[in-house]
Point group: none
Chain length 411, copies 2
């Protein structure tokens, strides 16, 4: 079964945003068993939108369109689809009601321009948007079923999973299964070397790697003569990947490192606190992306030295003698946070995220992190590469990985 993707928006053709929607949809369609023969991206221009739909309808059975469903005058997808089909736009009352309720829940009045988002080509199936104002819709275009979804990634993904997948899954032959293993701690080339040969050992298995800084995802895809066989094959090969990579594999599928750490803390009944200098709150933010009150107590963002000493009790002598970026201070921050926050485990980070502030002795990228736990304090040190945001991110991951290590070691 052939599928195509149509991304609509001048912000895409002008290069103002990276088209992550296209790769996300392409990956999902591939998993479902579709072959994607083209991804087309056009600007908010009705003639070009119409020409693209016409062309894609001629080469595919499923078209997934995104973007151009907003309330403003430059959002022209719905209008273009109606013109392509030669049908009028018809207002969809349930949608206008849903949009009005959304605004009321926000304590606002719906503006007249939002009414436009409830207009659809006559005969279209409306796809409700549970988390935004722009509903999507589906129409038949030539031999293809065409789905149009909002461009906002979060809304698009949810609507694709809940409303599009059930309609198209039966069209594709599912003879494949994929296991996604999440890793942190080794560069992509080393991950690749460690798992070399697995494809030969398990015929029908293909390994893929995706670097999503600072993680490497290993995709184990299996193809067999039935879905259950493909699943068994993928699971067996994934077990071999896990064996070769050990603790570097921290989770599977949509797991995040913070979630995995949270589960370990909860299982062990540990309460966690953080003390962050150069990461400025990033570890706390990662931990609280999901509900975390069962194990996360809070933290101290000790960006200035006055907070390291005033709130965490790091001695001024130590700050002067070793410098704020030192293993001694990292340990003292973690121990101070353990006391100040009254927690079982505290993790600290201090480093030079740059772009300035480095010296030949302590270069940009130098980071110390520590975990203070009931059995003692562990300190780690690394010089990370990259610009400020990358150094902060990998440091935050390293700190969480050390908490994971402590949890695993202490059983």
């Amino acid at each position: 079964m052939a599928a195509t993707i149509l991304c609509i928006g001048t912000e895409l053709t002008r290069g103002e945003i990276v088209n992550t929607n296209a790769s996300w949809i392409a990956e999902k369609l591939t998993e479902l068993g579709f072959e994607i023969c083209e991804i087309a991206t056009v600007d908010d221009d009705p003639a070009r939108i119409i020409a693209a739909i016409e062309r894609l309808a001629g080469i595919s059975n499923v078209i997934i369109g995104t973007g151009g469903l907003g309330p403003t005058s430059d959002d022209l997808t719905t209008y273009s689809v109606a013109r392509f089909l030669g049908v009028p736009l018809v207002r969809h009352d349930p949608s206008i009601e849903a949009i009005r309720r959304r605004f009321e829940a926000l304590g606002r009045t719906m503006s007249p321009s939002n009414g436009k988002q409830a207009d659809f080509p006559e005969g279209a199936d409306v796809l409700p948007n549970p988390i935004g104002t722009a509903p999507g819709f589906a129409v038949t275009a030539g031999a293809a079923r065409a789905f149009f979804l909002p461009g906002v990634p979060k809304e698009m993904k949810r609507m694709f999973e809940e409303q599009v997948v059930p309609q198209i899954a039966k069209l594709a032959p599912r003879l494949t299964h994929q296991v996604r293993l999440k890793t942190f701690g080794l560069p992509e080339s080393v991950v690749g070397e460690r798992v070399a040969g697995i494809e030969d050992e398990f015929p029908g298995v293909m390994l893929g790697f995706r670097a999503h800084f600072p993680e490497i995802e290993v995709k184990v895809r299996a193809r067999a003569s039935s879905q259950p066989e493909a699943r068994t094959l993928a699971d067996r090969a994934a077990a071999e990947v896990r064996k070769r990579l050990g603790d570097v594999v921290y989770g599977e599928g949509d797991d995040s490192l913070a979630e995995v750490v949270g589960r370990l803390l909860r299982q062990r009944g540990y309460r966690l606190g953080v003390a962050e200098s150069c990461t400025g709150g990033l570890v706390g933010h990662m931990l609280t992306k999901q509900a975390a009150s069962e194990y996360f107590v809070g933290g101290v963002i000790a960006y200035a030295n006055s907070v390291k000493s005033g709130v965490l009790g790091v001695s001024e002598d130590m700050l002067r003698g070793h410098g704020a970026v030192s293993g001694e201070v990292a340990a003292a921050m973690a121990e101070g946070a353990r006391r100040a926050l009254d927690v079982d485990i505290a993790v600290s980070i201090t480093g030079i995220a740059g772009p300035t502030g480095g010296t030949s002795e302590k270069p940009v990228g130098l980071v110390y992190w520590a975990v203070a736990h009931p059995g003692g304090t562990i300190v780690r040190e690394r010089i990370f590469n990259g610009e400020r945001g990358m150094i902060q991110k990998i440091a935050a991951y390293a700190a969480l990985a050390l908490v994971r290590e402590v949890c695993l070691t202490r059983g």
Copy 2:
């Protein structure tokens, strides 16, 4: 001048990698003054590559192709272009020499398959690759000049800048100018209504809107008979947009709200601290994405009530009486942070980010935020919509916007 982009590779159509090349090239072409009418992505299939070139040659003057120039059998771009042109492949001796030298420099022997990378369609202009094995080439396709570059971003970018830009820059008339205004505080529909009519008032101006939750960017694009005129026109229209939106416009271009707040704090010599409950460190993270030590002191992540009372000094009576999510506690958190961190201004957030924890009286999305400053304490309250991550993000923005308001008010 119309340009198109053709990205070739099954790793793209299968969604294994995000197509950052396309947005990078699109942005560069836009800066040069080209209008990009389509970005096409096809898999490594000669028939589809040929069909795409044929089509793009009919609608653009410049085609930038990337990918499919590697040494393996699935790299078919050169072969496809030769077939499209109806010419044979010819080996290019200087290229084979360059590839051999590259391998020697790495202490390796060139493999026979690399010879393929020195084959080009007869008549093509070869574009040497200074940092990789795959050279590119340029051909004339219909009315278009088509450039084919490697897919490796680093190689593609260097070759585009050094070898493609000098050839195409003279083709594009730079008759446009764009001003990007960043806004926070109004929904897209209201922003659209407030600026309605500006396009009529300033002929040659087009407004575009981009929702990047929770911000709305307003793009003011002007086209005139010369670049300076376009710039003047865009600036005049942008001034009108600013007048209509007032303080909702917080910055321009690549400004982030945290950077703008940082600049205001630095100008006024204020030192800032944060006290975050439901946002868990996000405000601190936003403030420290850029070097911030001139004005950001640190913060307290008061996720559990024990930290609100223990570190920030919020009284347990108040926590019991009003609840942790209340205006009283938000104020006490900000005032406590002002004392504990010894700062001029402290901003606090407490709320129910969900997905659980809401009641009919205090629903998920209810957030209080406060700023304590030398002249007093300001508290705000809202019920935000959306899932956990959205509530956290908009609450963090609202808190930073209140710091901005206090800075602007206090001059």
